[in-house]
Symmetry: C2
Subunit: 407 residues, 2 copies
């Protein structure tokens, strides 16, 4: 017997047939003797409908009212799934965020969970009842409904799994696990049985869209064993766990890539203290999220070039901000390119293995791919390259690190 | 300056244009200096969608989950209307039943209001903010969402008007007021400027669908001046008020009629004590709502006939129950007819004026209409007649009591 929190996203509960499919899965787990709580998203069509209404209502809308309207979506799914479970003979009841309560701060549209009262959920487990929790939503101090923002239902599920000390949190989605890289690009990509939180975090933040960074970080913090699996097939997925659970650590676990990046180089900045921060503080003030930063001195040593990446959507704003500050910054030139991609090699094992980065550079060089920016962390090496080489680079690296499926 | 609770039903908020129209009306009242709170129903299409989901989910569904799902409808409208009001520069915020809280008993699907905390609403009035309340819903003791059943949003509005001591409760609907009778049958029907609670109650329970009996009874109990008016035209409607507000009382205020009735006669019942209750207690046990009851002794004085009306939908069940109990009841025959209509003359003035009933009987006799059952109360006379005469009877009575519009 295990205690499991199962989370089903918008496409997994997209219509009544799928909700019935979810109920059947839950019923099976209950029949197998598991204690189950379920976290659900809104039916994908309902979410679109509600967001459409809000857009239509007002261009600039009160985030509190927006949260009130869109949270109705999860409320509907939770009630319906509880009904269908009961119809299958599985005792069940729905919970809205405010009924648990799942308390959050007051940042509507992107609230953070502050506290979850586990008592109602524990009572459900004790009664052999499935708690069906509306994901993505919580209650602020002022008694108003909040929503958790992107990846909110995953976050709800992991947080609930943490407070009820679940043995596992199963995140059902439209992919069947975490792969060594995007299988659409590399047909030989392998599904990983296990991956560590740290690696998953790098993969998530680097563009692998399986799990949001936020829920992975939460799972890591509270040690919630989290499984990513398919809601349409009955197969084990990928377990995201602590390092100690992985006996034989792969040196490299996966190749991530992230489109939609842009590279900016500020050329000929005076090489004096404060000049570099002078570049980034106006960008921060304008909410530009700067990612990789590389600084290189010029040959004569009096000036320096600073390159960095930003989301492509922010490129125009970035350039405008830097142009506005041209006089005070005193740089010579501004070079930018929206057509780049970030490719990363991720693996916990590289902490103890030398040569991971150089193999990456060699592999790319062999294919004639020019590296524009490099950045490294303990468990990853990222490079920015021209976008047209992205598939080639990912495939070559996947092979070079021995990740290709053997069959 | 007046304090007004305005209620808008499902067709009045049927789409975003109509919600915008509602917001414009509310904004105008606020601009005129009124303190306004609004109670809204679900958008009519959304209600149908949610009910459809529930039907699809399970044939027999948990009323608590049903309430959770359908209450999302009012939640959506309340949030959207608050957004649109803000967009028009009117400070506004939404309230769900649980946020007020509007406490009810635990009878899901048909809950009764037990207590409304006025403090949050009073705070809104004090801040010059429009409270937009999700109608039809409340919170039970076990912290779950309840719905109030038929006419629930009207009931929410009247109850809220009562606790905030509103000067008036405006019920916006798709008709522009209460008429002397159904204008589709009698083109000369007149819109009443005022009607008393008692008369409205008789009209409502007799089939005039403008206001549900329940909300009228509540308005009467708490003396809430209630106006029925059109949400599509900007005209005064009909005020439902206490008798003291009506200076010159009409003898007859209106002619109501109610289709969907059936008449049952139990013939040749032993005329001994307990025999009549023997007929009605099994019907009550089977939830048959018996309306008019007439008893007549047979010529020899040893047996009696009992006639009564039931909703036509319950006729089959009624007959089945009586057949089942034939032996114990010991009646001779069972006669029934689904094809009847109840026509009623309603007026507070008839308490002090003789001859109202006899004018009714004379009028119907003149038209050759046979009266099958008669029942009277202090302020109404009802008859059951063959359904095919209903329009003729209503028109003739409307003229006979001087109700026709003179123009």
């Amino acid at each position: 017997m295990a205690r499991i929190v199962k989370k089903f996203g918008g496409t997994s509960v997209g219509d009544m047939d799928r909700i019935r499919n979810v109920a059947t899965r839950v019923a099976k787990a209950v029949a197998d003797g598991d204690e189950v709580a379920v976290v659900v998203s809104a039916m994908s069509g309902v979410t679109n409908q509600l967001i459409g209404y809000c857009r239509d209502a007002a261009t600039f809308h009160d985030a509190r009212e927006y949260d009130t309207v869109v949270a109705a979506g999860e409320q509907i799914t939770a009630g319906l799934l509880a009904m269908v479970l009961q119809d299958l003979g599985v005792p069940a009841r729905s919970f809205m965020g405010w009924q648990i309560p799942l308390k959050t701060d007051g940042i509507h549209g992107a609230a953070r969970i502050e506290d979850i009262d586990a008592s109602a959920l524990e009572a459900c487990f004790a009664e052999g009842r499935v708690a069906v929790v509306a994901g993505f939503q919580g209650l602020a101090d002022d008694n108003r409904i909040t929503t958790l923002g992107r990846g909110g239902s995953d976050t709800s599920a992991v947080a609930i799994a943490a407070v009820v000390s679940a043995d596992r949190c199963d995140i059902y989605t439209d992919v069947d696990g975490v792969y060594t890289t995007d299988p659409r690009i590399v047909p030989k990509a392998r599904k990983l049985d296990k991956i560590t939180y740290e690696e998953m975090l790098e993969m998530a933040s680097l563009g692998a869209k399986v799990l949001q960074t936020r829920s992975v970080a939460l799972a890591m913090r509270y040690g919630v064993r989290t499984q990513v699996l398919s809601s349409f097939e009955d197969l084990p997925g990928t377990l995201v766990v602590g390092e100690e659970e992985i006996v034989e650590q792969e040196i490299v676990s996966g190749i991530a890539y992230s489109r939609g990046e842009a590279k900016v180089t500020v050329v000929g900045l005076d090489d004096t203290p404060g000049k570099v921060s002078g570049v980034f503080s106006p960008l921060a003030k304008n909410n530009v999220n700067v990612d990789m930063i590389v600084q290189s001195a010029s040959e004569d040593g009096t000036t320096t070039d600073v390159s960095f990446t930003v989301p492509e959507d922010d490129l125009q704003k970035t350039v405008a901000v830097l142009e506005d500050n041209r006089t005070s910054l005193g740089y010579k030139d501004l070079v930018y390119n929206g057509n780049v991609v970030k490719v990363s090699v991720v693996g916990l094992g590289m902490r103890s293995h030398a040569g991971v980065a150089s193999r990456m550079f060699d592999t790319l060089a062999e294919k004639g791919i020019n590296i524009q920016v490099i950045s490294t962390s303990e468990i990853k090496v990222s490079v920015v390259i021209d976008a047209e080489y992205s598939e080639l680079a990912v495939r070559a690296l996947h092979t070079a690190y021995g990740l290709d499926r053997q069959d």
